[in-house]
Symmetry: C3
Subunit: 158 residues, 3 copies
C-alpha cells in the first residue's frame, strides 16, 4: 500500500512536470522524459477501443519523436500559440516491477497570439512509466484523444 | 492529521475512479459506487444556495438511480457522445465517524461522434463518502452545477 | 524528501481552498490568505516572459488588494456571474526557509445568470507561500495568464 502511495506521488509529479515542459516550450526537456526505447502515440479514442491502428501521430521509437520536435523547431510552419495542460489526477492501474501503468485525464487549452483561448483537446494519457532510482521515464504514452477532429492543427505534442 | 491525510488520499482516488467509470461508459460499475441507501441529486447552484428543491435529476434512493441507468441502456434515445471529467482536487470539510464530507470542483467536456469537443458543464461535487474497511461508497452526492442551462441534454450522469 | 512531500500537501490544499473561496464568493476570506506585505499581480504571459511590467491588475501590497475587493463589494458594476476554478496540481520549484515557490496551472470557467458557461481564462499561478505554524499565507502571487484578451471583463480575482 505505501509502495503504491509512493508510486502515485512520483508518477503524478512526473506527469505534471512533463506537461509543464510543453506549456513552457521546453520541448527538448520533454523529450528527455522518454526512454530511448519508448513509444508516443496520439490515437482517437474510437480507434483505440476497437483495436484499430490509425493514429494522429505514431512515434514507435524515440528517434521518430526527436525528429518531430526537430521539425517543429527548424522546419515546420505552425500556428503560433501557447498550450496549457490541465490534469485531472492519475489512477494507477498496474505495477509490474518498476513500471507503473497509469491513466490521467487531461484537457489542453490553446491560446493564440491575440490572447484568445479555446478548448483544444480532451482525452486521457495511458502511460507506462519506469520508476528508476535516478528518476522517472516514459516507456510508453498513448494519448487517447476524445477530440479527434482537432481544431486548427496538431503541432506541439499533447 | 495523518487520519485526514489518509482520508484525503482515499476520497480523491475514489472520486477519480468513479469519474473515469462514467468516461469509460462503465455505468453499472459507477452505480456500484453508491450505498443502497444513498442519494444522487443534480441541482443548479442558485437553487442549492437558496434552499430551493428544484433539481435537474433527483434520485433519493439507489433504486431510482438504477432506473435512470437502465433507461439509458435500454430505452432512451440520447445524443451519442463521450464524456471527460476533469477534477480539481478534493477539499475535506468534515469527518464524522467513517463518513467524510468533501467538495471537488469539476468540469465535463463532451465530445460528439465527429470528434468535436465542447465544455459541457462546470460545477462542484458535494459528497458524503463512507470509508469502510472493504472500500469507499457514496452516501450522498450533490452535483451542484454552475452551468444549469446545459447544452443539448443531460443524459449520462455527471 | 518527506519535508517536500509535506510541503506539497500543504500548498496544494491551501491553493485549492483559496480558489474555492473565490468560487463561493467569500472574497474577504480570500483576502485573508495574503500576508500584510504581499503582492498580487495578474500579468499576461508574454509580458512576464519578456520582463515587461504591464499587468492587468497590479496590487503590490495588501491594502491595494483590499481596495479592489471593497470596490467590487460596494462600488463597481460588474457582469453578474459565478466562477469555477479547475486546478491542475502544484509543482514545487523551490523551498527557501519556510517559503515555498510553487507553480499551478489553472483554468477558470465563468457562468452567467442564465446558467451558460464559458472558458474564461487559462494560465498559471506562480506563488510564494509561507508555511507558518499557524497556517499558510501568500507572500506573492503572479497570475500569469495565457488568455490576456479576457472576454467581458476581469472583475472578480482570478
Amino acid at each position: 500500500m505505501s509502495e503504491s502511495i509512493d508510486a502515485k506521488r512520483r508518477v503524478e509529479d512526473f506527469i505534471l512536470r512533463s506537461a509543464l515542459m510543453i506549456d513552457n516550450g521546453q520541448l527538448e526537456d520533454w523529450l528527455g522524459c522518454f526512454e530511448d526505447k519508448s513509444r508516443y502515440i496520439v490515437i482517437p479514442r474510437e480507434n483505440k477501443e476497437r483495436g484499430l491502428p490509425g493514429a494522429l501521430m505514431h512515434c514507435d521509437n524515440k528517434a521518430r519523436l526527436t525528429d518531430r520536435i526537430t521539425c517543429l523547431r527548424v522546419a515546420n510552419k505552425i500556428n503560433p500559440h501557447s498550450d496549457r495542460h490541465i490534469l485531472s489526477g492519475s489512477l494507477i492501474t498496474e505495477i509490474a516491477g518498476d513500471v507503473v501503468s497509469v491513466q490521467s485525464s487531461f484537457l489542453v487549452v490553446q491560446t493564440n497570439l491575440s490572447g484568445a483561448s479555446i478548448l483544444f483537446c480532451a482525452g486521457c494519457y495511458e502511460d507506462k512509466i519506469r520508476l528508476a532510482k535516478d528518476g522517472e521515464k516514459l516507456v510508453e504514452r498513448y494519448v487517447v484523444v476524445d477530440s479527434f477532429s482537432i481544431p486548427t492543427m496538431l503541432a506541439t505534442p499533447l
